[in-house]
Symmetry: C2
Amino acid sequence: MKMKMEQALGREIKKARESLQKSQEELAFDAEVHRTYVSLIERGQKSPTLAVIARLARALRMKPSELLRRVEAQFEQSKL
Amino acid sequence: MKMKMEQALGREIKKARESLQKSQEELAFDAEVHRTYVSLIERGQKSPTLAVIARLARALRMKPSELLRRVEAQFEQSKL
């Protein structure tokens, strides 16, 4: 089954959040988004806007392009 | 004045579209978005979702991460 890009983004955000030992609540606070929204994004159930992607990336201490680069890498792997 | 990320994205999309000699209508068709939406995005008046960014990037023959990399480069320059 082809993985949706939103699911790949959700996984990368969760992975980066956990590696910083942040809870969803902490990430939500740092990125100025609602906690339930972080949960939806991590599960790939929302396609966040550029503005939200940028705020999440900043809170995860990476550039938005780096976050998408990781998403693409995962996305490519899922096609194997 | 600080440039908004959406405006930087709009400029990069327009630049890439023009370098491919595509009209807004053609880009909209290729990316499966409405033409008026392309116009709003190019003017930085909408923050497109990941799904739309991915479709626009594909239609512009680049990876989403490459599009954001260009946005960041422009964004950095605007701070000078």
